[in-house]
Symmetry: C2
Subunit: 286 residues, 2 copies
């Protein structure tokens, strides 16, 4: 497919007709894609999951940035009007460099919308953020929440195993609950006065474990994720830039992966909440 | 470092002085490296863990083969006299092509030695093989065991989550046991007449979960892994080829990884059972 940079960077209907690009380390970002499709049903989308190198959450910052640049480059060559970095780890590590390098492409991450959702859902501003090792090490959510509410109390917990559980499809039952208890049991047992009222799911894999997390933290705290607020930010940004799709006809949706179409379809259908066949996925090399 | 292909493929003391190359998808193969160092304390070793692309067990066969070829190419350029593919997934998928492409380099995988160990440890020849998704899908162990004992009864179980548990360091306690019970509980509950007497750890990560696996399967079956038998095969092969190191002086050991020296050191020290610092690891790009 030839580069469509002119259309992507120019004004007018040609650019507005391009799809929204969504990039993730694997299938987890499909929860964000699903929210975007629900919020903007008339928009086309182009999703790229870097399944050859998933997971990002335990890789070094330099590698994650390089992978994000390669993915963005690929999506720009295909033609997208806006990029959503649906992976929390990549959002935490690469949003600034991606905006600088690929300007004027609008680039939206999931950490800032996630922080918006957390602050809005919390009365006490006592947050616990569940995320990957890399996102926690960057303190991405703590910084984003403190930028909004300087006195907020933010505890970050690295929950690497939740990623593997979601990929394995073990999202409820004794194993999921045992893992959630191991990560969050201390929290639930802490004195009531210090308990959080907001649990932030800082990784796109984690919404699938909502039930197991709820069973450990009890009914008290809100459990918030980035998907819905990210979709709202995408809608607002398209509106601001006059880039909403106005063409008639059905929007198009395409899914790309860097490895394993069959596994992407099998695992991805859980995240997208619709059936997928291996033939729906195009495998690309970055 | 310049290519040392001439030394690697030539006869005589120059070649014998080269290290044994060990390649794995990450840190799991350090259990095999440890067995090789114990069996052959006078030999030098050069270990390469492809931590930028770990895990292999859920990736496509074509990608795993490509990664294995790149790793082998790198180790040959550094200079090795023999290659051990310490990753079960890569062994299952790439041993034949690697031998053909890199002849006359001797290439030893872990599946065949693992099958030797299983057959030797079993009286009833009723085996349960625990491995990654890819290794199970290849039926690598079933084929290797049947080649030795045609009437053997072999059940293969994909245990992807064991990899994440071992990497997280949760190798004992309630979570490890809940995961082991989920994978193996049905087995332990089956009628005594059909129960296996051999549990084969068909992934180099799994020896760390020995205790949790034992707690579910009970005292009956043997639990076998590839590390010790692989080291024995390496010793025999060096002997057969006259490639044992005869130089005086202490052997050298080097560790390479494709990403994340700090994480490699932290996680790898559990597998190698000796302390490692990030400065002990050289990061390379394949």
């Amino acid at each position: 497919m030839p580069p469509t940079t002119a259309a992507a960077h120019g004004p007018g209907p040609a650019r507005a007709s391009l799809p929204i690009g969504v990039f993730d380390s694997g299938v987890g970002g499909l929860t964000v894609l699903r929210a975007i499709r629900a919020r903007l049903p008339h928009e086309s989308t182009l999703y790229l999951g870097d399944t050859a190198r998933v997971p990002y959450g335990t890789k070094s910052p330099a590698s994650v940035l390089r992978y994000a640049e390669q993915a963005t480059d690929h999506l720009i060559r295909r033609g997208v009007k806006l990029l959503v970095v649906a992976c929390n780890t990549a959002s935490a590590l690469s949003i600034g460099p991606l905006r600088a390098r690929f300007a004027p492409l609008p680039v939206i991450g999931v950490v800032e919308p996630g922080a918006d959702a957390a602050v809005a859902a919390s009365r006490l501003q006592r947050h616990v953020v569940l995320a990957t090792e890399s996102t926690v090490r960057q303190h991405a959510y703590a910084r984003a929440i403190h930028a909004r509410v300087p006195h907020a109390d933010v505890t970050e917990v690295a929950c690497s195993l939740f990623v593997a559980l979601a990929e394995e499809g073990w999202t409820e039952g004794p194993v999921a609950e045992a893992v959630a208890r191991q990560y969050l049991g201390g929290l639930a047992a802490s004195p009531a006065a210090g308990r959080p009222d907001s649990i932030v799911l800082g990784c796109t894999h984690f919404p699938l474990l909502h039930g197991a997390i709820r069973s450990v933290v009890g009914e008290g705290p809100s459990i918030v994720d980035s998907a819905t607020t990210t979709a709202a930010v995408v809608a607002a940004e398209l509106d601001r830039l006059g880039l909403g799709r106005t063409m008639e006809g059905r929007p198009g949706h395409a899914l790309l992966a860097t490895d394993g179409a069959e596994r992407f379809a099998a695992v991805g259908s859980r995240f997208l909440a619709e059936p997928l066949a291996a033939s729906d996925i195009e495998v690309v090399d970055l």
